[in-house]
Point group: C2
Chain length 225, copies 2
């Protein structure tokens, strides 16, 4: 029995590699080195090699990686090679922007419907997706075998909506509302708090204003004096 | 001269601590332990203590942290205690949802304007923010001392918009378009690729479908067999 542990940052970088490899393939580039791949993502080539070595023997030492082959392998690993039906809960600005997010469709996510409780929104379309009630959502979730949901609802609705989704058999929830959601243990919850990125950027800017200059910015750390 | 290096994940966690501490203060909680703070964020208490010890002596061993004091310290560290004027480039769905994002205002970000090139949008308002042309943006950037910009433009416009912002004196760019932007060395660029989160969630779901079950999900790694 295989047993290993993949760090979350590695999976996130695989996602970035996959994007770069797509761009390379579109440009007809056949081979890419770990240095080139690292440069494109903004990290050290050693990290690239270490990440990829976790999943098998890719690439030829001194030559590089076959772009198409590596892309195909990463796509399979991340499940990008199949179609994943998802529902978005909340048909406001955030939900709509997620439905319209470029790359969402390309990467194999199929937004089956958007769920909302606003009677004025139910029955309309947002980015060509139907906005439905919870009653209709229940039918669609079963019909399409939806297991993933994206939450873009007001903070005070997050916990109850998550419960509702869990009751309907959803197994993975991506929560974009700025509150930390805790799901039952059998449901995978990923909280995406966008203000974290603003704080991260401001942290360095704040140092600048205080007469301090950041010495270096890397994907792993910010050095300053 | 002080010289130290703060890892990016630490800064991101500080942002999460700050949110939890705000909630605690609102509920009138005076003291919080590292275990409680860790639980709320979903990490080990040792990580909490290590993160906070980088910035000074907070808390009393065996007692905990004074909620208000710690919140104030983190707010200062992250620059949340001041008002930061920002502009959002791109008045589409993504830009609008970022302007409407809850917590954005609360955390001291002041969206001065949204910039767009669409003549139909210029002169209108989005979430009570004026949509302006680049000519007007230039004036507003100088007037308000804007140093931070948020990019929510189509992928093929990212690089030229970043150049334009840099020419106007913007020092930090938060790029939400799913392409990796590289700025000049004196400009701080933070790329936020939302598809990374979808891939992260799907990675685990993909294992499930293949008959594998994730053994544990933590903020640092996913163990599976």
């Amino acid at each position: 029995m295989k047993f290993f542990k993949v760090p979350e940052p590695t999976i996130m970088r695989l996602s970035l590699y996959s994007r770069i490899l797509e761009q390379m393939e579109d440009r007809g580039v056949p081979i890419i080195s770990s240095v080139e791949l690292g440069d494109a993502v903004g990290i050290n080539s050693g990290v690239v090699r270490k990440d990829l070595s976790m999943f098998g023997e890719f690439g030829v030492r001194g030559v590089g990686y076959n772009v198409r082959e590596l892309r195909d392998n990463i796509r399979k690993l991340l499940g990008q090679d199949r179609n994943w039906p998802v529902i978005i809960v909340g048909a406001g600005h955030l939900g709509s922007s997620l439905a319209a997010y470029p790359g969402f469709q390309q990467r194999g996510f199929d937004v089956v419907a958007m769920v909302d409780t606003d009677p004025e929104k139910i029955g309309t379309q947002v980015i060509e997706r139907p906005v439905v009630s919870w009653e209709e959502a229940e039918i669609l979730i079963k019909e399409h075998g939806v297991r993933m949901a994206i939450l873009a609802v007001p903070v005070d609705a997050v916990q109850s909506v998550a419960q509702q989704l869990t009751d309907l058999g959803v197994e993975a929830i991506l929560n974009f509302s700025p509150i930390i959601l805790k799901g039952p243990s059998h449901v995978q919850v990923q909280n995406v708090d966008l203000t974290v990125y603003f704080d991260l950027m401001r942290f360095t800017q704040n140092l600048n204003t205080n007469g301090l200059r950041p010495q270096a910015t890397t994907v792993r750390g910010i050095a300053f004096r």
